[in-house]
């Protein structure tokens, strides 16, 4: 009996905090907007299930797919997340590689330094980038004082600022799995490669990179999945030009107060992300199997 209770705890948790909310959101996405509290109709009525169900429909989904704004926002979000993921990988790989190759006694400190930014609020860190990137911000001041540029660069409120923001914010999620897989590589494998005639740059592509693949995949999914739904960074750094589905959803919900449509947007976003999430799970599973 006690064993069952123990096993039931995580399932109960998932049921109460994931499955039930998901069905609530799904139900709202099938409702109609109303000027009321809550701002949709119908509300759940236990006495008239049949009448309640007959009022639900997929109108909102049809609306999302008929309006190019939403479709574009989805594609734009996927594109921005995809490019950011690649950029994050390019920045994170050398860092993780350096960490894995650093003297053993330094490594815990280096991992600590990677995690350190998490001790500050995410929102504050993104705001800080405004101070760096804006016209009279630190970056422009620095470059102008150095004489590299004469006119301030326009980075704020452009996609570039969004990329910088995402790469910066999600860097630890890429570095840590990369470091974990790089650190596991037996150094004698590289000696063996050199011994068999492979110079270091070749050995990197023949041995190190393929062996770090689980880390590369895990890091990419950990960045890509949340970045797709990101709304704080495009909202604060991207300005009005940057279209991302997370921002659209936020706007639909809080500014437009159209709960049914924003719920439909959220459900579609979830479906879009199910594919990479399933792939991510599979990658994790495969790695666990290989570790055995």
């Amino acid at each position: 009996m006690r064993r069952w209770l123990l096993i039931a705890v995580p399932y109960l948790w998932l049921l109460i905090f994931f499955l039930v909310p998901f069905f609530i959101v799904f139900k709202i996405s099938l409702s109609d907007i109303a000027t009321a509290i809550p701002p949709y109709t119908p509300t759940f009525d236990i006495t008239d299930i049949r009448g309640f169900l007959s009022q639900l429909d997929f109108e909102n989904y049809a609306f999302i797919f008929s309006d190019s704004l939403y479709v574009n926002a989805y594609f734009s979000a996927l594109k921005i997340a995809g490019i950011s993921t690649v950029l994050t990988l390019l920045v994170a790989y050398p860092i993780a590689y350096g960490m894995a190759r650093a003297p053993k006694e330094w490594q815990p400190t280096l991992v600590m330094l990677v995690i350190l930014p998490f001790w500050t609020s995410f929102l504050i860190r993104v705001y800080a980038w405004i101070g760096i990137l804006k016209k009279e911000g630190l970056l422009n001041l620095f470059l102008m004082n150095l004489g590299v540029i004469s006119e301030p660069l326009t980075i704020m409120n452009t996609p570039t600022a969004v990329y910088i923001g995402i790469v910066y914010s999600y860097l630890p999620f890429m570095i840590l799995p990369l470091y974990a897989s790089l650190e596991k590589i037996n150094p004698s494998l590289l000696e063996a490669a050199a011994d068999l005639g492979s110079p270091p740059w070749k050995a990197f592509w023949q041995v190190t990179f393929p062996l770090s693949m689980p880390g590369v995949l895990a890091g990419c999914f950990l960045v890509f999945i949340p970045a797709t739904g990101e709304f704080v960074i495009p909202d604060l750094l991207g300005g009005s030009d940057t279209l991302m589905i997370g921002k659209t959803l936020w706007f639909e919900f809080f500014a437009n107060r159209d709960w049914p449509v924003s719920s439909a947007v959220a459900v579609v976003l979830l479906l879009v992300l199910v594919v990479p999430i399933v792939l991510f799970q599979r990658n994790q599973e495969k790695e666990r199997e290989a570790a055995r």
């Binding site: 000696e191 011994d195 041995v207």
Partner: protein, 397 residues
């Protein structure tokens, strides 16, 4: 090549010893031939790690087709020496010459040597075939040629069925063979083996030793093995360099190392030995008369080079060279009396621990070739130990 190795390896072993293919190889001794140039030459090689001197001024010649063993306890510098030859460590000073070419400054991937790693270091993401073919691929061989050479190496090590498997799907013994196949696939002039059989269990290790020797003979390659297992070194090698604290203590054939150790260190390291401490009283015509302490007759032995009067010396006596008997031998020049304090019966042989009158204990072996039911030697018996004069080696260090 190592006929001597077969008969002289540790007498305590109950395992069947190697019977090496005889005649033409038995006089393989290029190190005695001044016209032969060594394939590997370490020239005053020193390696320091910070303050720690791992290798102290080592000079060593290794000849083509040799199976050369670097033997010593962990931390004696043998692995460092091997890694310097592979190119993973750079000598602090000195030169390393391979086939007449100074390779001291060459990167590992430019050297004509291949190494078999202690951990095997098989690439986990590649199949057995890809692992073995890795070196050939680096040289840019055409695909069909790589496949042929890989197949050849796999056939030699009986790995035919495992070509498509990944290393983690193989047993330890199979992985060891893949690692060896990979090291010989490029047909290097020199194969380096770093404790190649250390991870195998004892029985598998003995089979693997003979396999190693077979492959070394068939390929005609020079093998250099690093090991801390004296039995392994004795079994496989043509010559052994015994190392201690970064220095060579003795470099000789297994037979010479066993029969004529040059120091207490070597005598102790290889096989079982009794060391009797004494003092040289006088030297006459190359024969030293040695005082072994109160209660023991002085006896004579061949004086080693550089031995002077009044010097402390040790007599090294292999247990199996000592005859043990109840009666005083009639015509033995070297005989002492003692009391049996311990008997160990191992079936094929028996160990006797005999205490001499000066308190020193001597171990003697006796093969149980006839059933000694009539007069077995037992605890507390007074016995005579006797050995032919030439079997006792006088050591000065």
């Amino acid at each position: 090549m190592t006929g001597a190795a077969a008969q002289s390896s540790s007498p305590t072993s109950t395992q069947p010893r190697a019977v090496r293919t005889p005649a033409p190889q038995s006089n393989f001794a290029p190190w005695k031939d001044p016209s032969k140039a060594p394939i590997v030459r370490f020239e005053n090689v020193v390696k320091q790690f910070g303050d720690f001197v791992a290798v102290k001024d080592c000079t060593l010649d290794i000849y083509e087709r040799e199976f050369f063993a670097l033997l010593g306890p962990s931390g004696c510098g043998k692995t460092t020496l091997l890694r310097m030859l592979a190119g993973f460590e750079k000598p602090t000073s000195g030169r390393i010459i391979v086939a007449g070419q100074d390779i001291t400054d060459l990167a590992p991937y430019e050297r004509p040597v291949n190494m078999m790693f202690q951990s095997y270091a098989l690439f986990p993401h590649m199949t057995v075939e890809q692992n073995i073919g890795f070196g050939l691929k680096q040289e840019g061989f055409p695909k069909d040629q790589i496949a042929a050479r890989v197949e050849e190496a796999m056939a030699m090590l009986e790995l035919g069925r495992f070509g498509k498997r990944k290393p983690h799907q193989l047993s330890g013994g199979q992985q060891q063979r893949v690692a060896l196949a990979r090291a010989i696939a490029k047909k290097p002039r020199i194969v380096l083996l770093d404790e190649p059989l250390g991870a195998l269990d004892k029985r598998l290790r003995q089979t693997a030793q003979f396999e190693l020797m077979g492959i070394q003979e068939r390929t005609g390659t020079t093998f250099i093995i690093v090991t801390h297992d004296q039995e392994e070194a004795m079994t496989v090698s043509s010559r052994i360099a015994v190392m201690d604290h970064g220095e060579f203590v003795q470099i000789a054939t297994p037979g010479d190392i066993y029969e004529a150790p040059n120091s207490r260190y070597t005598a102790n390291f290889i096989g079982d030995v009794n060391l009797l401490e004494g003092k040289v009283v006088k030297i006459d015509g190359g024969i030293a008369e040695i005082d072994w302490g109160p209660g023991l007759a002085r006896f004579k032995a061949t004086a080693p080079d550089g031995c002077v009067g009044d010097q402390a010396v040790w007599l090294a006596l292999r247990p199996e060279k000592i005859q043990i008997d109840r009666d005083k031998p009639s015509d033995a020049s070297n005989a002492v009396q003692g009391k049996v304090v311990d008997v160990g019966y191992l079936g094929s042989i028996s160990h006797y621990h005999v205490e001499l009158s000066n308190g020193q204990r001597v171990k003697a072996l006796r093969t149980n070739s006839s059933r000694l039911v009539d007069r077995p030697i037992s605890w507390e018996d007074t016995v005579w130990l006797e050995w032919p004069p030439e079997t006792g080696i006088v050591l000065t260090r």
